[in-house]
Amino acid sequence: MVRKKVVVKNESGLHARPASVLVKVASGFESEFTIKMYGYHVNGKSILGVMTLAAEFGSEMELILEGSDEKKALETIVDLFETKFKEEN
């Protein structure tokens, strides 16, 4: 199992579009993906789960991955957070 804390850098938060990108990318990996935020745990491959976090700019969350491709998955997902889900100019 690998885990890492990340911060939402998108100014308008982890809204529908980045949430959709996150779920899409995460679903491409075999590993189980859990997001922990304020004591909540959601399935990171669940669009509704991710959206109901309603994570705003600056929110901190922990990404937890477990499975055969966990390292690669974590790296890829952390990169999405770093690059603001490639949505801003």
């Binding site: 529908a16 959709s20 669009i47 509704l48 949505e87």
Partner: protein, 574 residues
């Protein structure tokens, strides 16, 4: 075929001309209700199967729709719906409710999605609560599928669509199918469904209480978009009569389309510009065939409704598609004009929405929206220098123009800092649709780059007639002498300050009114694309002198009746 006594003749308000004959398809907007019914042990299996089948059916439909869509924004909306259907947690929870709680599949879906809807609605984060409606939409559609009570959204070419009202996204879908006609119970002159049916030339009748008369799928229907008649189960004689009229209409349209190719000159050689009012990309191919010179009014409400948080990139894509498809012509883009029936995610209702928080008033209160739209427009302008114009809606005082210009300057400064190429001199003009602006036209003309008169709202605000109110709809008449005088005042003010003036209201689409406007010296008119050939025919076949005489006499009239009399000879005849 059918005896005459079986036919039902309904009347409504004709809003889009033409004769449509086809078989009825009913678009129901009432959703299925589900109850927390318990199921037996042996039913579990079939309910799980139903869950799987319904999910697969919706997935394949949405995926097809997504792949066929031209708009990135529409694709994104569908993609989000697809992800919801594929959501592993949703699947797990629904299955659990069926297997362990022994709930019916319909109720299991209902209660599972409601949990998420409630979380989103109470999240306190605007974008999250805004998305709740999408989950509601998918919940209802999914339940309809499992209860085998699907709201009709399958329709074929040549059908007559009956609906209570048609939401914009569905209207886009309908626009891709060549339907014969549309009959709506609700709707207003300016609803999206009406605007789109006009520009696509689909006959449309609204305010028709068809529900009361058991219209059934497959019944033969005639829709007369000129007189507002809807005939269900017509007899042979009626059918023959309308078929003949339809043929005549078609050949007339063909005839008038010949004018589309002519040069935009009056009989005496004076030039004019007829442009199109446009809202959807789907309308653009028609501009060439109908002889439109660019776009005089690009509405941006639907595109902004469809974006996520008014995303700049999505807007840029839409605007640049429009600009690419209109070659070298100018495109006047009206800033987001929410109001009245187009209100944006505002649940508090206003007593008088048309006198309320809309147009520039709302934009100045919502700088995020305004800045994003201006940013998108300036970004696009870099590749299309000199072709864009920005039109500000619902201005009622000078201060609003100053405030808006300051925001535009901020946006430009920011783009400059980011070294982004843009057109620094996009003209910024205003809609003249509030009487206070007409009274101040002389002052305001020195502060703006152009005027565009919106005759529908100007009429409503000047005559104090709510155009949606059926009781007084007869009082709503844009030919009122006061309106002509206001147009004249506005034109004089524009001339004095040497700024261009155009008319983009419904008035411009009527040949007789267009002739009068041209006579008054307003030679830039924007209208529904379908109306262009007939307007062009009238302007091309008269001299400016004749048009001047008409407008002079109209401006002398004190009563509506006199004006209608003057116009009677000018109206388009068969």
């Amino acid at each position: 075929m059918n005896p005459g006594s079986n036919s039902i003749d309904l009347t409504g308000k004709a809003v889009s001309n033409g004769i449509g004959i086809g078989s009825a398809t009913i678009l129901s907007t009432k959703s299925t209700t589900v109850r927390p019914d318990k199921i037996d042990q042996e039913e579990i299996k079939s309910h799980l199967q139903k869950l799987k089948d319904s999910r697969n059916l919706l997935l394949s439909e949405y995926e097809q729709l997504r792949d066929e869509s031209h708009l990135q924004s529409a694709k994104d909306i569908l993609e989000a719906q697809i992800q919801t259907l594929k959501d592993p947690e949703v699947k797990k929870r629904v299955q659990h409710k069926i297997e362990s709680d022994r709930l019916s599949v319909g109720y299991a879906i209902f209660s599972t999605l409601n949990e998420y809807i409630q979380l989103l609605e109470t999240s306190g984060v605007k974008w999250a609560s805004d998305r709740a409606v999408d989950i509601v939409a998918i919940r209802d559609e999914w339940i309809d599928v499992v209860s085998e009570n699907r709201r009709e959204i399958t329709m074929s070419k040549g059908d007559v669509i009956f609906a209570e009202d048609i939401p914009p996204a569905l209207m886009v879908k309908i626009s891709r199918i060549k339907v014969a006609a549309i009959v709506m119970e609700k709707g207003g002159d300016t609803s999206h469904a009406v605007i789109l049916s006009q520009s696509l030339g689909i006959p449309c009748v609204i305010n028709t209480h068809w529900n009361r008369y058991q219209v059934k799928k497959g019944m033969l229907v005639i829709v007369d978009g000129l007189d507002g008649h809807v005939i269900i189960n017509p007899d042979d004689q009626q059918l023959a009569q309308y078929e003949e009229r339809r043929e005549r209409d078609l050949s007339r349209v063909k005839e008038s389309l010949k004018w589309a190719k002519k040069e935009n000159l009056t009989k005496c050689g004076k030039s004019f510009f007829l442009r199109a009012n446009v809202e959807f990309l789907e309308e653009l191919p028609k501009l060439t065939t109908h002889g439109a010179k660019g776009i005089g009014l690009l509405r941006t409400e639907t595109v902004l409704f469809e974006t996520t948080e008014f995303d700049v990139k999505e807007q840029v894509e839409f605007y640049s598609n429009v600009l690419k498809e209109t070659k070298n012509e100018s495109v006047t883009i009206r800033l987001f004009d929410a109001g009245g029936d187009k209100l944006i995610n505002d649940k508090s209702s206003e007593a008088n929405p048309f006198l309320g928080w809309r147009g520039v008033r709302m934009l100045l209160d919502e700088p995020q929206l305004l800045k994003k739209q201006l940013e998108a427009l300036y970004r696009v302008s870099g590749d299309f220098t000199g072709r864009l114009k920005i039109l500000v809606p619902m201005v009622s005082r000078l201060e609003e123009i100053r405030a808006l210009k300051l925001v535009a300057e901020e946006v430009r400064d920011e783009l400059k800092r980011q070294k982004i190429k843009f057109d620094p001199s996009i003209p910024i003009g205003i809609m003249v649709e509030v009487p206070s602006v007409v009274m101040m036209a002389n002052k305001i003309a020195s502060q703006v780059d152009f005027f565009s008169i919106g005759t529908n709202d100007l009429t409503q605000y000047t005559l104090a007639v709510d155009r949606g109110n059926e009781k007084i709809s007869a009082l709503f008449d844009s030919y009122h002498p006061a309106i002509w005088r206001m147009i004249k005042m506005t034109k004089d003010a524009a001339d004095e300050h040497n700024i261009p003036i155009s008319v983009c209201g419904e008035m411009a689409s009527k040949p007789e009114a267009a002739a009068c406007l041209m006579g008054m010296g307003i030679n830039d008119l924007s209208m529904n694309t379908s109306a262009i050939p007939n307007v062009k025919a009238v302007l091309c076949s008269h001299t400016l002198k004749e048009l001047n005489e008409l407008s002079d006499r109209v401006l002398e009239e004190d009563e509506l009746e006199g004006i209608h009399k003057l116009f009677s000879k000018w109206k388009f005849k068969e």
